[in-house]
Symmetry: D3
Subunit: 258 residues, 6 copies
């Protein structure tokens, strides 16, 4: 591997239909995770480690992937800083289309900042949907204003190749937070964390995802008022007349409680 | 142990008088911890690991306890999802009385969400005072609106038996964050974290807890203005005339500085 | 070491000129870290572990240092609580001058709260600039109101010698978060974390620190609008006429974009 | 829990038939673990952490269990050293019958030595079969001469309640090295480590355990001589005549190769 | 990735000349590591984690690589056990030539045994030189008799896909113990551990490796007899006449001290 | 700190009388640790982490100390390799007197080998008693032949300043394996591990150390033969006649059982 990056060419990914991605976003991370378990025996689809840096986002999108490896001085060229095109981590961003999510295996490292402000301004400008990094960002005082949804381990002032890592591959399979992520898999992330939905399972997931039972709004109201969990969740036959009554009143009032 | 949960019966706890619990809440976690050390040689009463999920709460209450164990497929029944009454983690919630705090040994696991929205709506409806979990919650986008004071390690989209844990016992002794918690012990928790107050020591703790010295308001004011720590904290004899003068002025002004 | 603290005398530090400290504050942690690497081969100047407790601060100042060691009951005197002057951790605060930053090696311990409210009121009153602690603070419900910029690992209700640590030395060399900190080194800390700037390198650092290129404001604007990273960052010759045009329009408008 | 150990009574365990235990010992830890997985879906029966202190042992026996908890000074009586009968860890040994294996949850602690020489001389004298401790032994210079098969994390000069633990329960359910161990479960341990065989599954395990195929001796011989893994493991139809020939020669020689 | 292993084809590696490998074996791990640092700035070539399972081996050979990834139930086929050719970990062994070293990224997992007895009998039969696994072997009671030099983290009774891993790629780049290993790199391993020698640097490494100075035998003898480190290591001019005398005596005795 | 090592002068230590050191060696690590706890409230005197590299040694001696710190490229001079006298880790060895034990805080690092063969040949030649290192040695294939008793975390081919550490101070206070070690403290180490005996407590320790009760030999014999722990350990009044009889027989036989 004498000239590993003489002229860097990286592959794009196949993207699923937008409607499918949106349906997964709408179910959220918790429903995606539990349904993948129930329907396909997937034990853990939660990318553990990276957490929501700012609360309240819920995004879904296809995964562009970037893999870091332990730095090896014979393979990491200082020329990166003479010719920016040799910086491999730029290349994953070049593939960004609206809604894409960049997923990075930065090996859990707390001393390497994968991207900084200018890179992420570009990502934002290209419509990037979010970042999931098993590692850190850099330049957070400037980056946070970009309001890109981020699931990361933390932040650091160090740049990405400053200590022990180097970018190694783009849009290949990676491990991230204990999960295997294939390029083009769908990531859904909210305040619970980020979940990997295998692309091939996405349609079935949507079909099988838990549909809120009609009585859940009723039950939530009763539970919030001190009602008995055994009676209202799941709804028992004993409570059904009460529910029917509640429905009738709601309809009479011309509205919906949820 | 062939039929471990054929018909689940769990014990309630003995609860201390409300006034006693309130007195402990009023002293806060830091005073409880240091006084337990000084008066009873208790090295560490701080449940280390779970931290305040939302700042600004200060609660105290008797501990309902839930213990998780490593999952064993021969003891964990898939029938849990056919008969909700076989789900042991529901049972700890059945005991909830206003102000109770549910304390969970979830073995520090970051991939198991102990409770989700519907369970916690019930807990809230019953007047539950708070949660201390050496592990995670699930469904945070919906749970946070319930505004239940929570001391947890994090959140996850996974459900409680999805990966390597199963609920095992209710209202028995547990270890949580490096502390032994007996059911009925008093938990006091604020932004500093959660502290275990052994029920039998509660009265003595209240009697011996640090009472703020009268001069602390004076000293705080002086220190904030750049005064010398050696002179004002603790208050020295040299500074006492100054303090007397301060008191006199305050009284003359008909008020209190604190 | 029979009477280790019979009469505690600790040394003050040499402080760099204020203008120099301010110049380092103005560049921020990320620029300090990367420039130290590029100009002096310093692999890692980031104090890893302590993170910004409250967002939005950016401070710089000379380091007062406090070292904790594993507690040894034959060297740790209970008399500390009879004679406050025997409490070594007070002494580091006595040296506080406006802008100073107290850096503490508390060995990453999560069960020892290095300082509480009264100590920190004094620190604030003396003009202390900030705290960097590889460990915890105590009394956070009261401390946070002081609005001292803090980079810490967490908080705990326990006091500083309650479990396994004791303060051991003031204004000597310490390790903090994987970095060697010499007393008098300059700490610069913001939301990216805290960075150690060796005092002897400070002037050269300021001279060599990355000065934002004139075109960065232009490029940021283009990138935010979806422009090509390859064209605008760094600015290519191909894009330079576009930049010149942008400059001319800006000047005509009598303003600046940054 | 005012007088937790005023008069300690602990339960004995139910022991499986000796022949059953011996059959499990004969299969060894690796076969037990993989068969439990294949036949009962038990993901992990390996007690991870404790390793064979001295190589070459293979033991099986019913589990006597001892649970440690974080020490709480209000529940741990210094009187232990006045009245040895108050030392709970002695009581698990009182139940020892020949071949029993004492399994201890010492919480992975590296600073607490669960047993020392005199205790273990007694255990040996009673015919104890072995020890599995998620933690340490003490007094190893003397203990090793007893030649008790031990799976432990390490050794320490400290005694069992010297730092942060206290014994809490005997012959109850425990977690050990990430596995749930019920009292009376069968432990099988060799150089690969210790495995928990649920008592109720023991008979079925023996029935379903991998029986070495007759051709394995033949295949091993061929593989050791450089034969092709694809041809000999598992044995292919193509290689079967060769095997038949090998069998015939062996029989002619009046012996067995294994 | 619907049919990931329908028909598995894996690439072989390019192997360096045997004489070159032998020269690296002769220098040992310590000299290889320090020389790579001095001559090529390679900070760390030590595969940290795996340690010598049995002492006294020193081997070198080209790296065959095997990568594990977190198991994903949609990609891991249970059919592996119906058709052994679908078991990817077998395929790395198929490439074995005499002296080859199989290097495995098993993600540091302590609950997955990468290979067992039959696989390793084949490896031995093919002349395999050794194993370096960031993880565990299985079946150690039988494997150890094969006397294959092994650098591993430990052993377990579990098989390789029993818990959370699955084999994913053969003879691609892997991370192992914090080092990047490219297929065909030369591994040199002894009691100090395993070192990665980049294939392209091997010749230069041999040329530049520390050649023991002629006087080292003399100095070692003097130091062992209590001589002064400052005088004898490195050899000073002051000690040179003494060394000349020692040489003369040795020659007169017709022998060599080393 | 412009010229930190222009001319290195390091202090020697005060050594306790040889007879006192020998008495501590004779009691061993376990008795030293438990007695320090009982007599002086020292919670933990066990240096946790470093373990006996080769079994069967028991040594005691005064501590020479060496402290490593995180490497800082502005303070670590490459000139070390031009002028060996600038290598600080040599200097701790210069102080070696027969029986001394070198204790090193190498920060638990697994990638830095503190000493190699030539250094340790010198240490051996000077009569050095042993090494306790919270870190690693290098060059083990050659070092082990020196038969120096070592308590270490492991071995590595890397040299001491190759990755992230640099030697920083000699014969000052250090933390090692969670214990504070003052230069001149007495270290006693055997297969249980290494224990720090504060110099000032040594005499009292010897006076108060557990003296084996006369009946222990008798009790051990009975326990080994299956006797009741409750009867024989500690020796009960009920068993005393039996013990007297045993003593009489032993005396009649003209010998001792221990």
């Amino acid at each position: 591997m004498p000239e590993p990056r003489a002229r860097i060419e990286t592959s794009d990914i196949a993207r699923p239909p937008a409607a499918l991605v949106e349906a997964i976003r709408a179910m959220g991370a918790a429903t995606a995770s539990s349904t993948l378990h129930h329907m396909a025996g997937i034990t853990n689809s939660h990318i553990v480690g990276p957490t929501a840096r700012s609360p309240g986002h819920c995004v879904a999108g296809p995964a562009l992937t970037l893999q870091f490896m332990p730095k090896r001085e014979d393979l990491y060229s200082a020329a990166e800083y003479e010719d920016p095109e040799l910086q491999l981590h730029r290349h994953v961003l070049y593939h960004t289309r609206p809604g894409d999510i960049v997923v990075v295996d930065a090996r859990g490292d707390m001393r390497s900042g994968v991207f900084g402000e200018m890179m992420l301004t570009y990502f934002k400008g290209r419509g990037g949907g979010g970042l999931v990094i098993d590692g850190c960002l850099r330049d957070w005082p400037n980056v946070q204003g970009l309001e890109i949804p981020c699931w990361i381990r933390g932040v650091t002032p160090n740049f990405h190749t400053q200590t022990e890592l180097m970018p190694f591959a783009v849009n290949g399979p990676i491990a991230c937070g204990g999960c295997l992520v294939m390029p083009g898999d769908i990531i859904v992330a909210d305040d619970d964390g980020a979940v990997v939905v295998p692309a091939a399972l996405a349609e079935r997931l949507i079909a099988e995802a838990h549909v809120a039972h009609g009585w859940e709004g009723f039950s939530r109201e009763r539970l919030a008022a001190g009602g008995d969990l055994r009676r209202y969740y799941p709804l028992t036959d004993a409570a059904r007349p009460e529910y029917d009554d509640w429905l009738a009143r709601r309809d009479a009032a011309g509205g919906s409680t949820e």
